[in-house]
Amino acid sequence: MDVSDGASITQKLPPERSRFGRLLDNERLLASLMIAPAILYIGVMVGFPFSLAILYSLSDATTGNQTLHFVGLRNYIDVLGDPVFRKSLLNTFFFSLCSQALVLVLSKILALALVRNFRGKRLVRFLILLPWTAPISLGTIGWLWMLDSIFSPFDWILRKMGLLGAPDALFGPLSNLYWLGEPSLAMLSVILVHTWRMLPLATVILLAGLTSIPHEILEAAEIDGAGFWRRLFRITIPLMLPIMTIALLFGIVFTFTDMTVVYVLTRGGPVHSTQVLSSWAFFKGIEGGDLAQGAAVAVFLFPMLAGVAALMLKLAHRTEVA
C-alpha cells in the first residue's frame, strides 16, 4: 500500500468525539448507569424495609415505642408457641396450594381454549384479563357483596333452584349459606376469590408458552398417531413445563404474601379460620401494636419463600428444552 492510500483512509475516519461522547462509548460505565435505578429502587423499596423488619423482629419495639432493645430470638420463640400463628401457617399452606392447583388447571384449560381461533376471541381475552387490571381491593369488595350473608346472589340462585332454604334442600333448610361466616365456606370463598384474581396472569403466561410451541411439532404428533390427551400430556405440558414453573412460582409468591383478599373478605375470621401469615403479621404488628412480633411473623415467610423460589428456578432451568 502506498502513502497516499493510507492518507485517504485516515481522512475517512469519523471526527474526534467529545469527552462526553467518549464516556458514553464506555460500555462498563453505561451498563452501571442503566442498572443503577433498578438497584436503587430495590435497595430503597425492598432492602430497607426488609432490614428494618429483621431488626424489629430481634427487638421489643411496639408502635408506641420504637427504641430498639435487642432481645435475641425471643419473638420467634413466642410466635412459634402461639396457636393462632400455627393455625395461620397451616392455613397459608392450604390456601396457597389449593388456589395454585386450581389456577394451574383452569389457566391451562383457558390457554388451550384461547389459543384456538373463534368468533369473539378478543372479547373473551379482554374479559379474562379484566380481574388483573382492577385493583385487588376493589375486585374483592365486589366479591364481598356477592358473598354477603343476606343478599348474596349465589344464595338467591340456589334458593331459586330449590337447592337451599327448603326442608329437604341439598344445602340445608336455612335461607342463606353464610359464605363468610361458616369456617369451611369462608376458606373456600377466600380460595375461589384468590383463584379468580390469579387466573388472568397465569393464563397469559401459559398462553405465551403455548403459542411458542412450534405448530409443526403438534402436527407431527398428530401424524404419529397421538390423540388429544396424549398430545397434551406427552408434548404440550412437557414443553410448557419451564413456563408453567414460572407461573407457579409467581402464583405461590403472590398467594403467600397477599393479605388483601383475606383482609377485605373475612379479616382472618371466623375465629382465625382464614387467618394467613401475612394477615396475622398485619393484625399483630400494626393493629395490635406489637411491631416486634408482627415483624417476626412476617420475616418467618422469608426463608420459606426464598427456598421455594430457588427450587422453582432450579426446576425451570433443568426442564429448559430450547
Binding site: 412450534p214 402436527e219 407431527a220 398428530e222 398417531g225 397421538a226 406427552r234 426442564t319 428444552v321
Partner: protein
Amino acid sequence: MAQVETKGLTKLFGGVNAVDNIDLMTQEGEFLVLLGPSGCGKTTLLRMIAGLEEPTSGEVLIGGRVVTNQPPRVRNIAMVFQSYALYPHMTVFKNIAFPLQTRGMKKDDVRKKVEWAAGMFGIGKLLDRKPRELSGGERQRVAIARAMVRNPSIFLLDEPLSNLDAKLRTSAREELQQFQKRVGITTLYVTHDQVEAMGLGDRIVVMNKGRVRQIGVPREVYQKPADTFVASFLGSPPMNLIEWGHLLMGFRPEHFLPVEVKASNAESNVVRFEFEVTWVEDLGSDRLVYGDIGHQCAHRHVISKIPANVGVFIEGGKTYSFAVAREDLRFFDRETGLHTDTTPL
C-alpha cells in the same frame, strides 16, 4: 404400501385458490415429486393428503379408501417436515419410539424396532441425545427414522433437504432415494428445487398457482415441457423462448451451440442463428454465453451453455454462428403458452 389419489381437490384461503381442482394418482411404490415455486400450493396439497388441512372440496383416497374427513392418525401415513419437528424434550430414542407407543406396542418390541430403525440410518450412537445436541444432517436422519419406524403405507416429505448445506444435500438425496427403493413405500415429496426433483422423482408433478401444469417422468418434463411455465421453471439457465411468427420457439441453452460443434449434423437438420455475444461467464464446468439473436424479433435475448470440453474461443462484442438441431426445438402457442406440435420450420 398403497396408492394415493386425489379427486378434484380444492383449497380456498380467503377466496384464493391455493389448490385448484387437482386430480392426481400415484402408482404403487412410486416416488412422486411435487415441484413448483413458493406459494404454488404444493405444500397445501401435501397437508391435505396428510389430513392436516381440510379441503374446501374434493376427495383424498389412500389405498382406495376415502379418507377426506378422517384425522391423520387413521390414515397410516408418515411425514417429515421441513423443520423436522422433532420433539425437543425427548431423546432420539423417545422421538423414534413415540409413534410406536401411540399404537400401544409392547416395551420390548418398541426397543427392538427403534434399534432397528436407528441402525438403518446410522444413528445408533445418538439414541441418548436430545435433538438440540444433533447436527442438521443427524436431525434429518432422526426425522426420517421416526417416520419410517412404524411401516407407514404412505411417506410424505415436505422439503426435508432444504435445511442442509449443499454438500450434505447431495449425499442425503442419494441415501433417500436408495432407501425409498429398498422399502418400496409410495412417497410424495415436495420441493421447489428442480435438481432434487429431477434426481429423485420417478415422476414429477409441476405445479403453479394451485394447478398441475405437467405430470411426467423427469426426462419427459425436461425435454417436452407442456407449456412455457414448465419450460422456464425447469433447467438452469431455463429454456430460451423467442418469438417466432405467431408462435414462441424454445430451445435449451445446452442445445444452442457454435456451428463448429454441430458440424456433424447434416445442414438440413439444424437451424442457424447469428449470435451477437454480449457477455461470457466461465463457470468452470461450463461457459454461459449471453447475447441476442435475429434483429427482426422481440424477446431475442438468449443464453448458450457450452461444456468446458468445447474449446471454441468466444468473447463479448463479437458475432458468431450458432445452431440448434431441429429435433431440439419446441414450439408454444403465444396466447395460451401451451406446447404445440406445429413446426413452422
